[in-house]
Symmetry: C2
Subunit: 500 residues, 2 copies
């Protein structure tokens, strides 16, 4: 078989792999949205089988030959072909070293554990969750061991979500960010300017929240003929395949921000998925190259677009007409301040832009210690509290607001949290680059025009294809990912609000 | 490998096959309930892949050896082991003779065609549908040819849904039924007793319909922690796996019967699925042995329980309190008459118990002619009208109420319709046998007690396992399936209503 034949056979193999993954994605979506409680054990078995079938294909020894042959094609390193071969190689490498039984066991136990986590959460019992985490950590460490690493084991789990990132880089990024964000936070906390958040509490009927959120999602460009929005206890986005992008959100009747910004966040993910070339679907390098880059799209729309003054110049009159009388006496300025309110809290998902990454720092340090064997799962509740004291100077009042707030570890997603911070940083960098190129984006938002922003992202991110995230960011912004733009943008936005 | 080892390996293979099928069932459920329109092409590819993976395992030549070895086990013909080996053999036989590409093509095209059918239906154009049907018929005939048959090709598609049934038997059953039902129908149509149906039209808000239907579903024994009820344009039931039984229905705001009886029908299917031994799930012979038997459970609850006077003695006061003022001036007797109203109409799904099987006769004769090559798909619209004239003495006013009313053929489900009639007949036979054994069931219904009925079905049908349907019916009722009990039960029920 020649190089071109090998490449086409490789794509055919990956088409089947992608279809299997996409079935699994739908099963996961259903599990969180509509599955009846009694279905969980069976669902775990379905997901484990699909994980096994996918693994079998990715680990197939003949794949190595196809990859080696296809790599002989004389193509540019920046081409889609090169990206497909590179990503195929990475996936084959990860899978060929791990036995199928381990992959299936991880899939099955993490599906069950997500429900155990929900139960532990509602009964406020960390003790119920710890044995699951202990088992999952052991399996994930064993997987990392099988795959092998040059640096530390945590590199391997990081690579699952953020290919190429290393523990050392992430540690450096998080600590510089914490160092530079802290002075801003202190100035804000010391500010005498009242920025009341309470105006976002009150009567916000869910039907109206939903209708406003759908209106905003449509306005910024989400195509509902190729997607949908449901509710689930823990919102997420799931791309089932071309033409089928699923988002979930959650609405709380007495809290405006949670449902609205959560929706815009997921819509940001959805706009990326809907912007990726449909025809390339299934090729190994057709998807986003990293979760951090994916997250940047969610954060950009949620935080830099939807919390901007321009955005609310357009949407606030609409919100006020929908939520009358709750917003009758609220001014645009007060509303804009409230949605940008900064405060220390024990909850990651309700954290503002300034304090958010301190929550990530806590989780990263704990995960890293767990993978190094420096921390036992049984000591996690105490270690959690100690890290919150250290980085945020506070302590959760209940396990529900502490260790039990996140389901990632029960889902086996160690190494995932840092992608949130990368997303924040890259979002700011992209947003500032877009402003440099196109001028006053908020003036567009103020008249309800989000196309320039979306088209810029389509061109500079969505359609770029599978290059390392550093290359994508460098290409779009002229600089590699760093925390500078993020701190600058936050300072610029919050200074007028808090009169810094 | 000894016989016992072969049998256990056989079960392990079928566990994987059943898990693959159950993923496909969920994809199908999602397609009809929540999938966005843009997802259809991708969905067709997902379903085709799973059909191919399932086929590959069922056609595997090594399966024949396992089956042959396992058949050496010295077990009773009525045992679960014998049933598993028998069903494994039937499935392997069907699949080993058909190429995977044909299975995948059928799966893909029928998924696409169901949506083409919906479009053709809303634009009232048979012409749009015919090319799809032509292609699908050709594929299904080719599949039947590959599998081979002693009698006629239609036997093969019949066997897919009703194992062991033959075209000749079905033809005989349908014509005796039509012969014996017609005199009853004529007496009803000649009756001077007014049985007004219009009282079931009026204002029946959907939220209240849904709440009453859920109440009835729960009362007759459906377990919502192991299942759910959604809405879809074309209601169905889908058993995803143990603990996960999905039903759909449709509610129409100005029509009480459609939504209520449709729900009870699907709940009947659901009660069967929830009654099958969970631990046996995945074994080839763990499922219902025939769709006719499955349908009998739906028909029994929909028609013989939920249209009985006893049922409404319990539920009518509740219905009247929910649908006030619509039902304020309606008597129980009038309501009971209305839900048993008999009239000729061009629509199968709205047909009453007396005329329903005439619609099946039409479809059976057309399908058989198509498979014999005596009828071209292009002549189907004319042939449809002619058959309706012949058997029901009427003609649909529009394609939507004619050929386009059913999606079965677009879904590739030739040979499916006769299972509806079998379901009707077996339902009546079971219901009358239960009454013989337990006395006045309607007296139980009148006090809201449906447990005796359900427990009798659990014992005599749901837990019987995978025996030929004739054996199951013989065991439960003392006679093989026939149309006699059906005609007797209808005559007994309708005589007082129509004063025959």
């Amino acid at each position: 078989m020649d190089a071109s034949g090998a490449y086409h056979e490789l794509l055919a193999r990956f088409r089947e792999i992608a279809l299997i993954s996409s079935c699994s994605t739908l099963l996961g979506w259903d599990e969180e949205t509509y599955m009846p409680p009694g279905g969980i054990e069976h669902r775990a078995q379905q997901i484990a089988l699909l994980a096994g079938l996918r693994h079998q294909r990715l680990a197939d020894p003949s794949l190595a030959d196809l990859i080696a042959h296809a790599a002989e094609l004389d193509v540019d390193a920046g081409s889609a072909i090169a990206a497909n071969v590179r990503e195929a190689k990475r996936l084959h490498h990860r899978h060929s070293r791990v036995p199928r039984s381990l992959i299936e066991e991880i899939a099955e136990i993490t599906t069950m554990a997500q429900h155990a986590w929900a139960t532990a959460r509602s009964s406020q019992s960390s003790e119920q969750l710890l044995p699951w985490l202990d088992k999952i950590l052991a399996l994930k460490r064993s997987e990392a061991q099988s795959i092998g690493h040059e640096g530390e084991a945590y590199d391997v789990v990081l690579d699952e979500f953020e290919p190429g990132a290393t523990t050392v880089q992430i540690a450096a990024l998080l600590s510089s960010l914490a160092r530079d964000v802290r002075p801003l936070l202190e100035r804000i906390l010391a500010s005498k300017r009242p920025v009341p958040k309470e105006i976002l509490r009150g009567s916000f009927p869910i039907a109206e929240q939903r209708s406003l959120a759908l209106e905003a999602a449509t306005a910024i460009g989400f195509d509902f003929s190729d997607g949908r929005l449901d509710t689930s206890p823990h919102p997420f986005s799931a791309s089932i395949g071309p033409g089928d992008c699923r988002l979930t959100t959650r609405f709380i009747p007495d809290n405006f921000s949670e449902g609205f910004f959560c929706t815009l966040h997921e819509v940001g993910h959805g706009l990326y998925d809907q912007g990726i070339d449909k025809d390339a679907w299934a090729a190994p390098g057709s998807d986003s190259p990293s979760l951090g880059l994916h997250e940047s799209q969610a954060r950009l729309w949620e935080n830099f677009v939807a919390r901007s003054l321009g955005f609310w110049e357009h949407f606030f009159p609409r919100a006020r007409s929908v939520f009358t009388p709750t917003l009758d006496r609220v001014s645009l300025e007060a509303f804009h301040g409230a949605v940008n309110h900064v405060a220390l809290s024990p909850l990651r998902v309700r954290a503002d832009m300034v304090t958010y990454d301190l929550h990530i720092l806590v989780r990263f340090e704990l995960e890293r210690a767990l993978f190094r064997g420096e921390l036992d799962v049984s000591d996690l509740p105490g270690a959690w509290d100690a890290k919150y004291e250290e980085h945020l100077g506070l302590r959760a009042k209940s396990p529900r607001d502490g260790l039990l707030q996140d389901g990632h570890w029960a889902a086996g997603m160690f190494g995932y949290f840092p992608t949130y911070t990368l997303g924040n940083l890259v979002a700011a960098q992209l947003y500032r680059a877009a402003k440099r190129e196109m001028g006053d984006l908020e003036a567009d938002f103020a008249v309800g025009d989000f196309r320039p922003m979306l088209l810029w992202l389509r061109e500079n991110v969505h359609r770029i294809g599978h290059r390392p995230v550093t290359e994508v960011v460098q290409g779009a912004t002229g600089a590699p990912p760093s925390h500078h733009a993020f701190v600058e943008e936050l300072t610029a936005r919050l200074s007028p609000i808090y009169e810094l």
